[in-house]
């Protein structure tokens, strides 16, 4: 057993490795990584698209989606309208206050004449 180990040690001591890296090795690795990633992504979007297509042709999914989208749209419309109404109300309140204030009216007239000049 020992002689065998000694032979092996001798053989290993004489063993020399001279690795040769193929040209554009690193670029090739990155290219393979990119290709695999693209394939995986394509398959995810493809699967999603296929699932959506299959789901949409089923009436219960289609009507649920329509109800969800319509409800959300109504909600967004109401929120937007509320914001506009509040802004409008503030604007009218300011307009009322200015309408009874001769100094505010004079300031507006001065500003308007400065703008027109």
């Amino acid at each position: 057993m020992r002689d065998y180990d000694a032979d092996l040690r001798r053989q290993l001591a004489t063993w020399q490795v001279a690795p040769v890296i193929p040209p554009r090795f690193q670029a090739g690795v990155w290219q393979r990584i990119a290709t695999r990633q693209a394939t995986r992504e394509a398959s995810v979007s493809g699967r999603l698209s296929a699932w959506l297509g299959a789901a949409l042709i089923q009436p219960q999914y289609a009507s649920a989606l329509a109800a969800l989208v319509v409800t959300l749209s109504v909600g967004v419309g109401q929120l937007h309208a509320r914001e506009i109404n509040e802004r409008q109300t503030r604007s009218l309140a300011a307009s009322y206050r200015s309408s009874v204030d001769p100094f505010a009216r004079a300031a507006t007239a001065n500003r308007d004449s400065a703008v027109s000049r």
């Binding site: 989208v69 109401q78 204030d101």
Partner: protein, 166 residues
């Protein structure tokens, strides 16, 4: 593959239509208010929940006051122009400039007094609780006339163009 796409398109169109209808329904009152000939008074009526009799009395007061207010506005403009001119042409505080300053101060006091008279008259046409709220809203305007005066161009009521004018 065509049918799901068409369905999706239909759902999106339905969503857009729902948004538009919802927005228009919710802003219809404000639109009507803005389109009214005296939008400020219409706003006052809505905001203070005034009855027809109260509005009629306030309208009467307002119609009597607005020409007075316009007259004061002209006097203020003339006084300010004169004061600015005198400040620009003089390098010392001479009697003429002192007189212009005094006149400007008296004019300010006169305008504040008339404005306050009008506000008290308007508040007297309202129920007590509304009158208190009205005077609370207006007191800053009397205390510092012209202060906080902003452009009052209304924001767009179109859902497409919501850019703020401020």
């Amino acid at each position: 593959m065509k049918r799901p796409l068409l369905l999706l398109l239909f759902v999106l169109l339905a969503g857009a239509l729902a948004y538009r209808l919802s927005f228009h329904a919710a802003t219809r009152t404000t639109k009507t208010l803005m389109a009214s000939p005296d939008a400020e008074l219409a706003w006052l009526q809505r905001d203070f929940q005034l009855g027809d009799a109260e509005v009629a009395r306030i309208r009467q007061l307002r119609e009597a006051y607005l020409p007075v207010c316009a007259g004061m506005c002209e006097r203020i403009e003339a006084s300010q122009a004169r004061l600015e001119n005198l400040i620009g042409t003089n390098h010392t505080l001479n009697p003429e400039l002192e007189a212009a300053l005094r006149e400007s101060s008296e004019l300010r006091q006169d305008c504040q007094r008339r404005m306050l008279e009008h506000l008290y008259a308007v508040s007297a046409a309202m129920e007590p609780a509304k009158a208190t709220r009205y005077l609370a809203m207006m007191k800053a305007q009397v205390a510092a006339p012209g202060a906080g005066q902003t452009s009052v161009a209304p924001p767009s009521l179109s859902p497409r163009n919501e850019s703020s004018p401020r």
